[in-house]
Amino acid sequence: MSVLSVAQALPAGDVSSAATVAPAHIDARNIAVDFLLEGRRQRVLNGINLAVPKGSFVSLIGPSGCGKSTLLKVLAGLITPTEGQVTVDGIPPHEAAKRRVIGLAFQDATLLPWKNALENAAFLLQSADGSLSNADSIAKAAAMLKLVDLDGVERKMPSQLSGGMRQRVAIARALALDPQVLLMDEPFGALDAITREEMCRCLLDIWERTGKTIVLVTHSIDEAIFLSREVHVMGTSPARIIESLPIALPQPRSDDSFSEPTFKAAEKRLRALLFESKRGPA
């Protein structure tokens, strides 16, 4: 954790403007992203400001094509923004990813079909720059499979696992890097409703146990409210954050959370915002 304290001390010393408030763990300022589509520049993200405190759980929600996946890729360092600055743990995200500060999970588990669950969970850690010894990687992966409730299936091949189990392996693969930040792009999007709920609980459990900073891109209002401390609602044309809604549900969250008045109120507000944003530019 010594790396962390150094990283946190950096902005305070270097950046005078940021010195007034405690720096966010993930800090995106004035992000704009242009894509070239058929030779024409098109702005897919505009004026995004996002600050995620350390150890928080936030969701990005919005209609299809609103750029939430693009924003997540910017935070992960996979896309360099056209304008604006991003820091994760005080450093540019692609640097942070290399130092294994960032763990990623996508909608598809993208497991390697020729490796079993354990080898898949260890694969990214083994491939990382300056990686651990093989035995250490495997041990780490085994521990993470336990954390996502998959002990006992280590030797199973991906084709023998259910969709939910495959996604758990993918999450374990991200966790094996021991990242401080977990970025997830609709990780449960391809799963059935019952499995989704199970996975939500699993993710909540991971968050409570590890205290990682988690950013979740989702289409599901329920999922966003149940899991998050704050939900950022995105709208289209131009793609932007139209509202950041803090979720003041009591911790720890449980099945009772769904029936809280706070939950109902947040759900109503989100629904209104999403349908408003769908209607186009306000």
């Binding site: 992960a76 996508f106 020729w114 720059d129 084709s159």
Partner: protein, 277 residues
């Protein structure tokens, strides 16, 4: 090309069903069909008194097979050696070209159209030139097999190397894995099922290459036997040699498929065989 399509679309459809509940095995059906066709052939020859030098009856072919078994066996042996060596070299060439195209991207983009252009040259027409260049021995046959059979290997291997999930590549890159590492640890293993599909096409092309090579100029091999028998109007011998070629080709094909099952057990099963995991 259809091979690539099949691989591409069925890569996720790894459906394995149990063997139970199938009334008649495919093998029995295939054998039954063969018997029906053979009997019909035999009857037609006898009924219409077709001369043997035009089309021999199956019984005449079998008789010829037994009579010339020593000659056919030794011819089959030299053809098999050509097929084996040619196929190995064609596979190696195909794989190397695919790796070069992927690893050295700009050079690959320049090379690729040339390979496709070369593929459109009628290779059979090259056989006499190879005889001229490399003589009557093994060499011209092997070169002919290589130029005929490397193409499906290259194309399928390329499809495999390039079809790795982009998000997974992004994941590898984000943790600092080098391009070489991604190639070795992800792209190449990922491409193996595609490669095997290409090899299955290549082995059948290799058989054709060997026979054509022997047609063009040889003093041994099944192609030579066919060529020689046709000058003698010995049609039963032509057909006997054809039977041996077919059996040889089939054996080689199933050897490649066996290799696939052993080496790439995770390969999607898109042939007609239902395999039990």
């Amino acid at each position: 090309m259809s091979e690539i399509m099949a691989t591409g679309t069925s890569i996720t459809g790894d459906i394995r069903s149990a063997r139970s509940g199938r009334p008649v095995p495919d093998a029995i059906l295939a054998l039954g069909l063969m018997v029906v066709v053979t009997v019909a052939w035999e009857l037609a020859i006898r009924l219409f008194h077709v001369p043997t030098f035009v089309l021999p009856a199956p019984s005449a072919i079998v008789r010829q097979l037994i009579e010339s078994r020593a000659r056919l066996a030794s011819a089959a042996m030299s053809t098999a050696v050509e097929i084996f060596l040619g196929f190995m070299l064609a596979s190696l060439t195909g794989v190397v070209i695919a790796l070069v195209v992927v690893r050295f991207e700009r050079f690959g983009r320049a090379l690729y159209p040339l390979i496709v252009l070369f593929q459109n040259v009628p290779k059979v027409a090259l056989a006499p030139i190879f005889i001229l260049w490399f003589g009557f021995d093994l060499a011209p046959k092997i070169v002919l097999i290589v130029v005929i059979a490397f193409f499906p290997v290259t194309i399928d291997m390329l499809a495999g190397l390039q079809s790795v999930e982009p998000s997974f590549v992004a994941l590898m890159e984000s943790v600092g894995a080098s391009r070489g590492k991604i190639l070795m640890r992800v792209r190449i293993p990922h491409s193996l099922p595609y490669l095997m599909a290409g090899l299955k096409v290549a082995i059948t092309f290799s058989v054709i290459g060997a026979i054509v090579g022997e047609f063009a100029g040889a003093n041994q091999g099944l192609g030579y036997v066919i060529e020689f028998a046709s000058t003698q109007l010995d049609t039963p011998l032509i057909f006997a040699a054809l039977v041996v070629v077919s059996v040889l080709g089939l054996a080689f094909y199933y050897l490649v498929e066996l290799a696939e099952r052993v080496l790439v057990p995770w390969a999607p099963k898109f042939d007609m065989h239902r395999r039990v995991a």
